[in-house]
Amino acid sequence: MMKLLLKNREMLLVVAIIALLVLIAVRFPPFVAPGNLANVYNDTSILIILALGQMAVILTRCIDLSMAANLALSGMAAAMLNAAFPGLPVPLIILVAVALGAALGSINGLLVWKLDIPPIVVTLGTLTIYRGLIFLLSGGAWINAHQMSDAFKALPRATLLGFPLLSWLSLVIIAIMVVVMRRTPLGRAFFALGGNPHAAVYTGIDVGRTRFLAYCLSGTLAGLSGYLWVSRYAVAYVDIAAGFELDIIAACVIGGVSIAGGIGSVGGAVLGALFLGVIKNALPVINISPFAQMAISGMVIIIAVAVNARAEKRKGRVILRKAEAAHG
């Protein structure tokens, strides 16, 4: 039983999340009411979307530290556009945010692809540059709720079948990512190239180009999240989502995406994000000091990494026949 669990990372996470919910329910039963769980999901939607983008990048043995900065810049652009031209249709604004996010992601991708600069250096650099650009763009000023049009703010809040559009949107993106990762050559290329970049070349995968596309994907999702974030919280300023890049990476790591590339799944990343989301939302209501939150998420990350590493541990080649039989 335990073995089976350890084998399947997604199952393990589901069990962990349920256990967590049970623990929370003991102290504060209303938390597990369906309505509230839907709220928690809604609150985690943006993290889920971002984690899926980060997963694609990590799968290819890269990392995107600039996602949160990208989100903030795209979000600020969307908010400023809305503030300056309140009449502009919201879909157009979303398109601009997504396009801008994709463009920023592609800059990362190009630097990694064409100049061969290590991904961590590239995105460390662009992280500060994108943040700085928000300041230059906005002059440091905040865009507040009253400067945004109602339509702009309404979209993520509108409900469909009783659930906010934000939740639906993240579900759609999960579905798209499942198809992309599982059933398109690009998705398979992410896995292949992360697993063995050398061999990927032999199978006709263009390593640089595939990484570039992974960055474009993460940038696109960051751009979309930029709009969602800004309209959901109805505010845009230089520092929105500051430090969120680490939450995104943590969600992936908890979800079993291997930082060494090639291993991971959409389900894992989503569950990893949800795990963090449940903790974030639960701590304030179960009367655990808000000051404990950070230490707890730190502990969770470390435990998750250790558990995943155990599950991943190479079974080791088996030479002895008799041992092989015992293993299989």
Binding site: I63, L111, L115, D116, I117, P118, I120, V121, V122, L124, G125, T126, L127, T128, I129, R131, G132, L133, F135, L136, G140, V238, G243, L246, I249, A250, V253, I259, A260, S289, F291, A292, Q293, M294, A295, I296, S297, G298, M299, I301, I302, V305, A306, A309
Partner: protein, 334 residues
Amino acid sequence: MADVQTIARHIPDRLESRGARLIKSWETLLVAVALAIFLVNSFASPYFLDPWNLSDATFNFTEKAMIAFAMALVIISGEIDLSVASIIALTSTVMGYAVQLGFDTPALVLIGLTTGLLCGAFNGLLVTGLALPSIVVTIGTMSLFRGLSFLILGDQAFTGYPASFSWFGQGYVWWVFSFEFCLFVALAVIYGIVLHKTNFGRAVYAIGNNQTAALFSGVRVGRVKFVLFLLTGLMAAIASICLTARLGSTRPSIALGWELEVVTMVVLGGVNILGGSGTIPGVVLAALIMGMVTFGFGLLNVPGIVMSIFIGLLLISVIALPILYRRFRGRRSH
């Protein structure tokens, strides 16, 4: 060839003189950049060339640079430690707590250093003992250590450090030379010697270039890495003592975001983020460059975030330019 009997050909020790190598090195590029920034600053602001002002400016980088020395070794060995800023916070918090209990300066320093070493040991144990990737381990401990500091301090601040303690952050050793600056210089020399002149330093390079081969060659890889994490913990503690003394108070948010600045400094100093190469003089130069950029922009009242754009561009372009240059030269020689 193949004839074993032939007298072995003589292989010279070195082909290029040290001078020739130096001219082509990364450090030379950095010296040029540093000089350029120095000149630009001198022209841009009449206040720049003032010994006291320059002395004040050193506080912009000394604490970060101290950590950068240890971080350089960690990165050369192929690992990374993102928890340094959180170690500063936890160390400072523990020292603050000790102040409340009535400890005096020497005890505070001892307690601070011990806390830093314990944090480093925790990282080291997870990375070497459980063989976990250091980047995720230290993302975790980054939250954990600062989280503990929040847990202890909550919405409080520790103040009331003894006057003798504040000397570490505000004292001057001689004329305009602050204690922090002198410590920075001393640590630069020590780390330079450790990395470039000792067996330990050689082991760090060997591990960074090929961990497996280093292990097969008798390098105690686990032990070396553990010591490296201890060292970053220790240096973070030293930086924490200086910073706490300089601020005279402790908040859990102290030194927030420093880890990325430290890594930027190390990478700008020519240390390969993938491990295997880099020098301490490079890191020293990068520290000076970042300090001068911050100070120069500060004199012109440019907001910090605009400076960080510049640092970001500097980081990418300083790494991209040699690559582009090599490519350009390669194309021409065809």
